[in-house]
């Protein structure tokens, strides 16, 4: 069997196990929809200027924001927490003792995350179309949009793998992961859109980290504004590459003492 076939086979087993853990699967899918409903109910009545002179309904804004959130949850949060659990249970150590190449195992995990992310984006978008009259990208924009989702999911998955290196045990996994991602989600306008009075330091933070670039690219995919910039995709990809390099250097296969 070729290495690629091995990785794909790993995706199949990861997927099987994922859906048999209904608690985890349910929340991965329910969270973005739940937040979409909550934020739209709280803040979704007005309009928002997403680019100079371009106004959209806030409910539409949240469809894009929650799709981005869904991808980040499915990739970054999901992979970081579940891999720490697998590491602590000795599953990774056992795998390391087999002839399976490391990259095929981890590549299988990343590919699985990508499938889940795509599913989540489709569900969130469909929900948005039905309840919040969101636009769905088509044509060239759809291709660009797909590229954004793929690059985003894989980059955040790589960052999730890198994050496991600083998590000592499964109990610490959710707090550490949330402490990293939650502030970034807020500082990147995912939950509360940036306005004219958003402080400059927050804008700077948002420019450095990948979350806002990713969300902006997703948003551009949904309603063509602000303009779709490959630069945003590139920033996300660079972060993903950094995550991959850090993971290659610091990832451990054995439980931490």
């Amino acid at each position: 069997m070729s290495d690629v076939a091995l990785a794909l086979r790993q995706v199949r087993y990861t997927n099987k196990a994922f859906w048999r853990n209904p608690g985890a699967a349910f929340f991965t899918f329910a969270f973005p929809l739940m937040f979409l409903v909550i934020f739209t109910s709280l803040l979704g009545s007005g309009t928002i200027e997403v680019a100079p002179g371009v106004f959209i309904k806030q409910s539409t804004y949240y469809v894009a924001a929650m799709s981005a959130f869904a991808v980040i949850t499915a990739s970054y949060t999901n992979i970081a927490i579940s891999v720490v659990f697998q590491r602590d249970a000795g599953i990774l150590k056992r795998t390391k003792g087999t002839p399976l190449p490391s990259w095929a195992y981890l590549g299988g995990r990343v590919l699985h995350v990508l499938i889940i992310a795509v599913l989540l984006v489709i569900i969130t978008s469909a929900f948005g179309v039905v309840f919040y009259s969101a636009n769905v990208p088509s044509g060239v924009l759809l291709l660009k949009f797909t590229a954004v989702v793929v690059v985003g999911a894989m980059s955040f998955a790589a960052l999730g793998l890198a994050t496991t290196a600083i998590v000592p045990n499964p109990d610490a996994a959710p707090p550490v992961v949330n402490a990293i991602i939650l502030p970034l989600l807020f500082l990147s306008g995912i939950f509360i859109p940036f306005g004219v009075d958003t402080p400059e330091w927050i804008r700077t933070v948002a420019r450095v980290f990948p979350v806002k670039h990713f969300a902006d690219a997703m948003r551009a995919g949904f309603y063509g504004a602000p303009e779709f910039l490959w630069r945003d995709v590139l920033v996300v990809a660079i972060w993903g590459l950094a995550g991959l390099i850090l993971a290659a250097r610091f990832f451990t296969w054995e439980p931490k003492k």
Partner: protein, 301 residues
């Protein structure tokens, strides 16, 4: 003669200031079951994990299937099966799925049902892993290690925490492996396990090998003196054979000629129409030897 499957010379491993393995030599030949026996903390797991490729040795030479275990290539890894001391599998897959997943990593795997049969998990074939008992999960560990049809199998404390009947079952599984011609490297802190399964035993204590050999002769067990204990009502005329009184009226003697000594004692007793009361004749058990060698740390958990 075929090259040894495992060959180790002067192996050392330090964790900071602590030297866990302090220069050990081991040779394991093809098709033999070798047991590394020692109390907890003696360096068993460190040694076996160096040979499995999980740890880097600090010094010394090591060859596993003629390769350096610190840099095992894929082809060599495919010839090795590993049962770690503590390890997990995905709780949501079934027994059959789990074995099948691991089989896929190897070039010449054994059929799933055959592996399930060898470890006796036939009834649990379609049960999810999280529904298995501890003993069944351990059998699954062995099944996974066997899935790739390895030549060499590492078993790190395979029966720790088992009840007696589960241990008997596990031993039967290892015996089955022997009949398949596998080379088995076993670590254990149970004397009876080493005695029952292994052709050769090395006793490790505080990071050094203190004795090595077949279970029947290890530590001079075969040449050790036989101990004879008995009581007599009236010791008048008892031949002097070097017996010493113990506190409770029992006499004890040690001899290299038990047949002769016993003959003299029984003749004396029969002549007087008496009896050698509470007579005991025994040779040191593997456990006695082990306790002596490891400084009385046996079974310290």
């Amino acid at each position: 003669m075929a090259e040894p499957v495992i060959q180790v010379r002067g192996l050392r491993k330090s964790y900071g200031e602590v030297e866990a393995v302090r220069g050990i030599d081991l040779t394991v030949e093809q098709g033999e079951v070798f047991a590394l026996l020692g109390p907890n903390g003696a360096g068993k797991t460190t040694t076996v994990e160096i040979l499995e490729g999980y740890r880097q040795r600090t010094a010394g030479e090591a060859h596993v299937l003629s390769k350096d275990p610190a840099k095992l290539d894929r082809a060599t890894k495919a010839r090795i099966g590993i049962v770690l001391q503590s390890t997990g599998v995905d709780p949501f897959l079934t027994v059959r799925e789990t074995i099948d997943m691991y089989r896929g990593y190897y070039p010449h795997p054994r059929p799933v049902d055959e592996v399930i049969e060898v470890v006796g998990l036939k009834e649990k074939r379609d049960a999810r892993v999280n529904k298995l008992s501890g003993g069944q999960q351990r059998r699954l560990d062995v099944a996974i290690a066997l899935a790739g049809d390895p030549e060499l199998l590492f078993l790190d404390e395979p029966t720790t925490g088992f009840d007696p009947s589960a241990r008997r079952n596990a031993w039967q599984i290892v015996r089955n492996l022997i009949s398949l011609g596998k080379t088995v490297f076993l670590t254990t802190h149970y004397m009876d396990e080493a005695q029952y399964l292994a052709k050769r035993v090395a006793v490790i204590a505080k990071g050094v090998i203190v004795a090595e050999g077949p279970p029947a002769t290890i530590g001079g067990r075969d040449t050790a003196q036989t101990v004879i204990r008995f009581r007599v009502e009236d010791g008048q005329g008892l031949p002097s054979l070097g017996q010493v009184p113990l506190g409770d009226g029992t006499l004890e003697l040690r001899t290299e000629h038990p047949t002769k000594v016993l003959h003299e004692l029984t003749v004396w007793a029969l002549d007087r129409g008496g009896e050698l009361e509470a007579v005991e004749v025994y040779r040191p058990t593997l456990e006695d030897i082990y306790l002596e060698l490891t400084g009385g740390e046996a079974g310290a958990e």
